[in-house]
């Protein structure tokens, strides 16, 4: 057996956290960051670690929970995806001023592309805005090493440190040796110091000065200085008389990894200096001067914004995004990097094989997904409505024409309220508004929005798609589960009770699999939004996610068949899109893929010709 184990980038980060004896980790799931905390939970069970790990209700809360642990001198971490940091931006900015006692590492996974996100935002800008150091790993193994460096830096300067992997690091796998975990005791000790932990504006100014000093010294830390990656090959080549020219490349993150491989392929690794910027912010002023003195042209390759480039403060010598040498949007795939490098070095362009111009397969809700039934019912009950929706598997309701907006976590409710006011203030009757939000998203950011909508006298139907899990990101628990990740019982939080406590008077729960009843309930809810003394109506569509094996299946699968009434109209395929319903060809009756069909029997109510039925 090999001593090398293959770890996902996110797993490697989790190993790094445990190696460093992190005592508290909090996170909210989101691609590409989710596996860090799930791996931690596994390691905790396996090694009986002294670690509190939690899926918090949202990133802001997660940040604060972890920060307090660091205030007591214990090592803590908070993990999220980049848009999660928007939610946690408030504590982030302030925590930079207060600083920490125990090491505090903020893992933020960016998503250039974007592959699974609303934006391509660069979290390193947040680090810059908050004046916090940020490390940009180039591989899973390095991400793990950087956790240690981040903790040491954090404790030396009493400052939160950001570790910023990107999708290609989080979801890369690499072989590495596993560490042994040797924990050390960290006694919690919160030293009261109101001038720091509860600073008023006057003290805040002082803290700001201190922060400036910290960040200046951090920029000069030798071990975080940009590294000349090909020092050896360059020196060897120089000994052989091959002088490297006056151009160089600076890169960080996975783009560095692409660039290194491309230079090697082009046989230029021993002639073009390549610097790895492991800490894009703060960039040392000394390094900057030396760089600009030594080279005539500097190409900067980084994702997804010009963070290093802007700090170099030179538009003549420095090439990158600000002068359109590097594209301003999209992932820097290795083929894109190769084109840029070749152009920069005046090499003929590569024979580029363009990807085919075919749409490929779009993702769709699973066969038998309860969300599909709910969306179909919503379309039936409110055919001409505005459909604000939210973030989760159910965003795929787009395919069914039942999703009009997707903005950010919890926005379905705020937007629904805004649409209502827009039409009312415009003096026109408002079209039906049928908003959808998942259970986890509702807890995350939906509650204040609902409360606000109620007290502003808004009217719309809100369908909470409650599948009792956070499905999209790998089935993390929600506050409705009544169980901590360690298996301790805690109170179950009821969405219906929250909705009532927010002042909603129409709150009903029903099973979307029972399609006709569910459609009737939606119509009743719609009437409530039009009644003289009506208001917002909340319908909770309750049915567990099929893919979540931990949940009971209170449903006997039915044997579904297509009878001879099928007119090949493809209505069920176009408007319902269950992957188990397939058209073998034009003018051919629909077929059921037995390997995919879950027997939910919702399609029976979908076919206008009654061609789908339960056998026997």
């Amino acid at each position: 057996m090999s001593k090398y184990h293959i770890l996902l980038g996110n797993e490697a980060i989790a190993y790094g956290l445990v190696e460093c004896s992190c005592t508290l980790a909090a996170s909210y799931p989101g691609t590409p960051a989710s596996e860090v905390l799930s791996t931690l939970l596994g390691l905790k069970r396996q090694h009986a670690l002294d670690l509190h790990a939690e899926w918090s209700v949202n990133e802001k809360v997660a940040f604060e929970v972890a920060l307090a642990a660091a205030y007591t001198g214990r090592r803590a971490a908070v993990i999220m995806k980049q848009v999660g940091l928007n939610v946690a931006a408030d504590p982030l900015m302030s925590a930079a001023y207060t600083g920490v006692k125990g090491g505090f590492v903020l893992v933020v996974a960016d998503d250039p592309g974007p592959h699974s996100s609303q934006t391509e935002q660069d979290s390193r800008f947040y680090a810059m805005m908050a004046k916090l150091p940020v490390l940009d790993p180039t591989s899973p193994a390095e991400a793990r090493q950087f956790v240690r460096m981040a903790y040491e830096l954090s404790e030396q300067f009493e400052i939160p440190v950001m570790l910023r992997p990107t999708t290609r690091i989080c979801h890369a796998r690499q072989d590495m040796e596993l560490p042994c975990f040797s924990g050390f005791r960290q006694t919690p000790a919160f030293d009261r110091n109101p001038g720091r932990w509860a600073a008023t504006p006057k003290f805040r100014l002082m803290l700001h000065h201190q922060l400036n000093e910290k960040i200046e010294s951090i920029a000069q830390q030798a071990q975080f200085y940009p590294r000349l990656a090909n020092d050896d090959p360059l020196r060897l080549a120089a000994e052989r008389g091959n002088r490297s020219g006056s151009v160089c490349i600076l890169a960080s993150g996975v783009v560095f990894a692409h660039t290194k491989e491309i230079l090697a392929d082009l046989h230029l690794y021993d002639s073009i200096p390549l610097y790895q910027v492991l800490m894009p912010y703060p960039l040392s002023a000394g390094f900057r001067q030396e760089l600009l003195r030594r080279y005539d042209k500097v190409l900067v390759l980084e994702e997804t914004s010009p963070v290093i480039e802007l700090q170099l403060q030179n538009k003549e010598k420095v090439l990158g995004r600000t002068n359109h040498v590097v594209p301003a949007a999209g992932e820097l795939l290795p083929e894109v990097v190769e084109d840029i490098v070749r152009k920069f070095l005046d090499l003929p362009s590569a024979e580029r094989i363009e990807p085919p111009n075919i749409a490929g397969r779009r993702p769709t809700l699973c066969a038998g997904c309860p969300h599909r039934a709910a969306f179909f019912a919503i379309k039936k009950a409110f055919p001409k409505a505005i459909y604000p929706s939210d973030i989760g598997c159910y965003t795929l309701g787009l395919n069914l024409g039942a999703v009009d907006t997707v903005l950010c976590m919890g926005a379905a409710i705020g937007l629904a309220a805004g649409f209502y006011h827009a039409y009312r203030a415009g003096g026109v009757d408002h079209p039906p508004i049928a908003a959808t939000i998942g259970d986890s998203t509702f807890f995350h950011a939906g509650i204040p929005a609902l409360l606000n909508a109620v007290v502003q006298g808004t009217r719309f139907v809100l369908v909470v798609l409650d599948n009792s899990t956070t499905a999209m990101t790998g089935h993390q628990p929600t506050p409705a589960g009544g169980m901590t990740v360690d298996g301790h019982q805690v109170p179950q939080i009821s969405i219906a009770e929250i909705a009532r406590a927010c002042g909603v008077r129409f709150v009903e729960t029903a099973d979307p699999y029972r399609l006709p009843e569910f459609i009737d309930l939606l119509k009743k809810a719609g009437n409530h939004t039009r009644d003289a003394d009506g208001g917002i109506a909340v319908v909770i569509a309750k049915r567990p996610c099929l893919m979540d094996r931990t949940q009971p299946r209170s449903w006997t699968p039915r044997n579904i068949v297509i009878n001879d009434k099928c007119k090949s109209c493809d209505f069920c395929i176009k408007h319902f899109e269950c992957p188990a319903l397939q058209s073998p060809g034009e003018k051919m009756p629909v077929q059921i893929d037995r390997t995919l069909c879950t027997g939910c029997a919702v399609c029976v109510h979908v076919c206008p010709n009654r061609a789908i039925e339960i056998a026997g």
Binding site: M1, S2, Y4, H5, I6, L8, T31, P32, H115, S116, T138, S139, R168, I169, H171, A172, R173, Q174, D175, D232, R235, L236, E239, V254, A257, H258, K260, E261, I262, A264, Y269, L333, P334, E335, E338, E351, R352, I353, E354, P355, P356, I358, G360, R361, R362, P363, T364, L365, C366, C393, T395, L396, M472, T473, P579, T595
Partner: protein, 191 residues
């Protein structure tokens, strides 16, 4: 070194096949670097894995660095394969052939799971797996078929050991599918 693209649609076990190949490589003392698709696309969209496999870490894999030192020869650092660079494409779904073929270099080999398996490197793996009452194991049928060609860095025998070790409740079913893929390959090779 070998660069392999494994493509399919969400739910077909692209990640599983990638992991088996990677484990086989690590067992042979090779470095691996992989890039995977997670997130929304896993719900039935196109998914793709990039897998880079290094040479076994023997003496010959070391390079002179000057000053008498020897260090591992540089093989790869990017988790992604560039278009036109892959040695092998495993298309678990017929769609994948069209969507991901551009990764293959001109001399590269594509093995695909298609209904009309005319081409010598194509196989109706889904039908074979369905006959075994295990349609989800089409991925292993195709993997075995590809390994039998000898185009991949490891042998079918070695993979069978990896599979055996991976255990799990589906082991029997997996091994059956794997063997079915091997015999399908023998069938195809018959003149």
């Amino acid at each position: 070194m070998q660069q392999i693209i494994i493509s399919g649609v969400g739910g077909q076990g692209v990640l599983f096949i990638t992991r088996l190949l990677a484990q086989a490589a690590v067992d042979q003392d090779r470095h691996v670097l992989i890039s995977e698709t997670h997130g929304m696309a896993q719900r039935g969209g196109n998914v793709v894995s990039h897998l880079k496999v290094g040479e076994p870490r023997t003496e010959s894999a070391l390079a002179e660095t000057g000053a008498g030192r020897r260090s591992p020869r540089f093989e790869f650092s990017s988790p992604l394969i560039r278009p036109g660079r892959a040695d092998v494409l495993l298309a678990l779904h017929a769609d994948g052939l069209a969507v991901h073929r551009h990764y293959l270099k001109s001399a590269g080999k594509a093995f695909s799971n298609t209904q009309d398996a005319q081409d010598s490197n194509a196989l109706d793996a889904t039908r074979i797996a369905s006959r075994l009452n295990a349609p989800v194991s089409a991925n292993l049928v195709l993997l075995a078929f590809a390994l039998a060609s000898g185009e991949l860095f490891c042998s079918a025998e070695h993979m069978q050991k990896v599979l055996n070790r991976s255990g799990g409740r589906q082991l029997e079913m997996n091994l059956n599918a794997f063997r079915a893929g091997l015999s399908a390959a023998r069938e195809k090779l018959k003149p």
